[in-house]
Amino acid sequence: MAQSTAGGRVGGRPAGYDGRPARYGQDIGEPGRSPDAATGTQTGGQEPAGGGQPRQRADKSRVDEWMEVEFRFGGSRIKRKAVALVVLGAPALVPLLFMSPALVTLNSTTFSVSVDDTLGTGAELCLFVCLLVTPLVTLTGQRWFVPLRRWYGIMMACCAIGDATAAGITDNFAGGVFGRLAGHTFVLIGFIMVMLVIPLLITGNPWAQKKLGRYWKRLHRLIYLIWALLAAHLVLLEGFGFQRGSNGSGFAGDGDPVFHQRLYQYSACSLFLLVLRLPPAKRWIAARQKEGRTWLVYATVLPLFALFVFGFTFILNEEIFKGMDSFAEHPSAE
């Protein structure tokens, strides 16, 4: 079979769809696994094999191939994929944009009141988009959007580091910089997350991938620890998800405590991202795709994806609401 020559095949099986790790350089869609994927240089011939799912494979290849087509713009030749990636990647800059006026005017009030909500929530959104790429590859077989994983990972790190830096300078907790960064358990967990994200940011480039070799993949699995620590951070921040009077993010004064609870939002988003990473679930999806019953996969996963969208929408709503206030330098502490 012609497709069996594709680089992603391990032991005659489509790499990554059987839950086993692929060799270095054979992207199976885990976050940041493939240098090619991370740098966006992967070509159609280097994609993970999908030979076991011929009909679907052909469809997906068409989308990826369509994205590879160049068009002329102002004397230059630009790939459709590049335009799509720029459009889809641009929102990652928005959290930093929201805080930029306060940075330019050195408005400590805005930083003190809303940097956690603007950059912290922005980092959470970027993390979820970064983690969303792998399940979408598993589901669709398309790979043209894989470079977004690296981009959103980098922006997640930038937002998180910006949040910690601003909080360390402007937060109201006692005990100086140390107290502001580690004076409470949830703040300490947030600080640990930022410390963990730094090596990922530093090594999130092709040169570091080449130098670290197989250790790069192991190092970048720290993203899963960060994901888990975010749960602990939110559990402690939100009083285990139970609203007590005005204590908790559910107290927005608009009568909707459930939708404002960050822990619920996190859980709604994480279920889809987690289940689609479980090897048995991936095996089942691969088997149905091989049988040509892709519709069954989509039908099964639809409620999970709907829940993800539901949770993500409210995080996004929070980001826009708080971010616009931060941009106007009239921070909201709701």
């Binding site: 009030t109 608009d254 889809f272 679930a281 095996r283 089942w284 091989k290 999970l304 009239h330 921070p331």
Partner: protein, 193 residues
């Protein structure tokens, strides 16, 4: 078709099927519950506003109805960091007012900046009609104080610098009085605004 391409045996994918089916059912229940809950958002919002003594129907057109909690939250959000900054600047001024003119002037300049930031933030809050005049009076008193401190910061000697202290204290008392009024007013559930 090679053996490798044959569909997996059912037992190999049973666990995946169970995991996906269970999690999808859970997700479906949560989505439906969420949609049902979202359908009652309007009523809950009205109830929250009514509980806070705020009737949306009485709001001036184009202005949201602000609950007491929202107002208190917004006011505290700008008040707390501004107070901390001012305390730090005043402490820096007190430490250097007798022996270091440049440092004292720098502390006063920082104080003016903090006050202007506070005034700008305060002006951005949409206070209800009952409280809005108090907020405007507070901004006026604060600006008068900032102007006086700015003048003090331009002093050419330490003696001249300290000569402003009593006037600044009087201006601070005026600001404090307005702040007390606003805090008292916010404690009472406001009307539409």
């Amino acid at each position: 078709m090679s053996q490798a391409h044959a569909p997996r045996a059912p037992e190999q994918t049973t666990a995946g099927r169970v995991i996906l089916a269970a999690s999808s059912c859970l997700a479906a229940v949560l989505v439906i519950a969420g949609l049902l809950y979202a359908a009652g958002t309007g009523q809950r919002h009205q109830a929250a506003l009514a509980a806070a003594g705020c009737e949306p129907g009485l709001s001036p057109s184009g202005l949201p109805c602000t609950t007491a909690q929202m107002l208190a939250s917004q006011y505290t959000a700008i008040m707390t960091p501004a107070s901390q900054q001012l305390d730090a600047d005043m402490a820096a001024y007190t430490a250097s007012e007798r022996h270091h003119l440049a440092a004292a002037e720098a502390a006063l300049t920082a104080e003016v900046t903090a006050e202007n930031t506070f005034d700008a933030s305060l002006a951005g809050i949409e206070f209800p009609p009952a409280i809005a005049p108090m907020a405007r009076a507070l901004i006026r008193a604060d600006q008068a104080r900032a102007k006086l401190i700015a003048e003090q910061a331009r002093s050419s000697s330490l003696a001249r610098l300290r000569s402003f202290n009593h006037r600044v204290q009087a201006a601070s008392a005026a600001v404090q009085a307005q702040m007390t009024l606003i805090l008292k007013a916010i404690d009472t559930p406001p009307q539409a605004g």
